[in-house]
Symmetry: C2
Subunit: 338 residues, 2 copies
């Protein structure tokens, strides 16, 4: 096991249930300095685990472990932190409780304060659902978070995004092997169907028009090779109930439901940390228009769009040009005095 | 039965199989005049039947039955023309042969020439896959077709569109009840899953952002009401093998494969009929960019985009504003001397 567990006990969840004997899996990179002033939190995305975030960390990059202490907390439901697949009965499988972004971030905050004694974070950043957690951090812990850079995500899941996820869910659960979550083997047909549904959304029209999947660094031999090798490969290694648990978290993401706030506008207005909000051009489920609306409601935020043809996966660490774009913005934001 | 059948016998198909005892269901509106100079062909779309095309026909509209003789041929696979669901063994169900756009249009041409003795068409027009058949008409029968107005469709199905359809297909066929097409009852779970996948594609981000589904003329009570009432309602009344047959036709649509042509560029360049090519703004699977590319390769074509927030379904006859926009363009095109 190359990661650690934080075990805060039972967690009262926002929606009324209890996450018993919660386990937050995390990994750290670099060293926390003496005055604990060099910490960064970088949450994970839908189906991703901390391994899948590491492309943005490295010597000479903004998230440089020789300079910063970077904490990647694994989202609940992702198979490493408490999830349907690793929770003992009776809360296992489809009985795993509904966990919100707010719940995730609350436990992450306990991790950094109780385990590490950190009171300030230089930065919170993340891709996709990781971006959603980033907004939540800035809202829930304004005294802690100095800067945020959410990329390819949103503060509240849009209706169209909810519909996209309905399609993903319907494809996965159309497999009778799913059996309402009481499967003995993974519902492989459903996982592969879900992957094929996702394929049209994760990358945009222009990505396919240019056959970028056939070029380096992807280099698949054909469209079918890409659908199987990349997309089915992404989901068949995951647990169906875990994917559905995270999907619930995603569909129900809304910082406006944070206790004390009366909706997303009010919540956005309460975010004071300097922010670069970074959508990707042609992202089909987190379109730049939604972030533009957000930024107009935020006090100290700039919209900066990743240009190009990769759509949502511009933020996935696969395209060096996009990675450079994100890294440059992170460097710039970290250099700002706040 | 409110429609007629044209029965041209056995049809040798482009892909090598034979459609035996073919039946082309069609309906006509208005009267063919004495010199047979007032005919219009208006093919159907994916899952649609001639009933579903009638919104664009009416007194005072461009497609005015008091003036024109309008023929709506039903696409093969749509349940009225020869389809998996109505073909006798051994060519029934999943053994129904693969039919191309080219095949469809060839039989439609026999209908109008052999049954009606029509040598010229004032116009061919259609939505979505109906647009695909429209391009094919102009290419296959340049001496017959005087004008075309394909809306929300393409001459060759784009790779991204193929991927979108892979998701639709995967969701439908993930239902074990589908049984490789040898079902005794419709695979209802799969049909509903397919509908939910489709929901995010058929209308665009802005449509959902504005909750247009809650307003007149749609007037659904909630998102879920719309997903069930509109989307599931659209597909649960159809036959799964029929939907898969038409999906094959769609995925493989390419006028560049017409005998005698060496690809889509060459085929587009051969279309000489005056054309208004009409995408819809924010159409997610027939994006305007693809039509822009087409028009640049066509001799006598204008790109005219339907503005607004309805995406692909701008061409579906549900929104009076969009219908007016299409109707106006049809009137203008029909008034042009050619």
């Amino acid at each position: 096991m190359d990661y650690d567990l934080f075990e805060p006990g039972d967690i009262q969840l926002q929606n009324g249930a209890t996450l018993r004997d919660a386990k937050l899996a995390y990994k750290t990179y670099g060293e926390l300095n003496a005055d604990k002033s060099n910490a960064i939190v970088y949450p994970t995305w839908y189906s991703g685990q901390h391994y899948d975030n590491e492309w943005l960390i490295g010597e000479g990059m903004a998230l440089d472990p020789s300079r910063y202490f970077i904490v990647i907390p694994n989202m609940f439901g992702n198979g490493l932190s408490s999830s349907p697949s690793n929770t003992p009965p009776p809360h296992d499988g489809p009985r795993f409780p509904n966990v919100t972004m707010y719940d995730n971030v609350r436990v992450q905050h306990r991790l950094i304060t109780e385990r590490f004694g950190i009171e300030r974070l230089e930065l919170v950043t993340g891709w996709s659902m990781g971006a959603g957690q980033t907004y939540q951090w800035a809202l829930s812990y304004p005294e802690t978070v100095r800067r945020i850079l959410p990329f390819c995500g949103s503060a509240k899941t849009s209706i169209h995004n909810i519909v996209f996820l309905e399609g993903v869910k319907a494809a996965l659960t159309a497999d009778a092997g799913w059996n309402n979550g009481w499967y003995r083997e993974q519902p492989g047909v459903g996982l592969r169907a879900m992957a094929r549904v996702y394929a049209g959304w994760g990358f945009c029209q222009q990505f396919y028009r240019e056959k970028i999947y056939e070029r380096e660094p992807l280099g698949y031999g054909s469209l079918e090779d890409f659908l199987v090798g990349f997309w089915e490969g992404l989901f068949v290694k995951r647990d169906a109930n875990n994917l559905l648990a995270m999907l619930w978290t995603w569909q129900n993401a809304d910082i406006g439901k944070t206790p004390g706030f009366g909706g997303v506008e009010e919540a956005l207005a309460a975010i004071r940390a300097p922010a670069i909000v970074m959508p990707a051009q042609q992202d089909l489920y987190f379109p730049p228009e939604d972030n533009e609306w957000e930024v107009a409601h935020m006090a100290n935020a700039e919209l900066r769009t990743i240009p190009g043809s990769w759509g949502h996966f511009a933020g996935g660490g696969l395209n060096p040009v996009d990675t450079k774009f994100i890294d440059n913005a992170l460097k710039e934001l970290l250099a700002r005095g706040v």
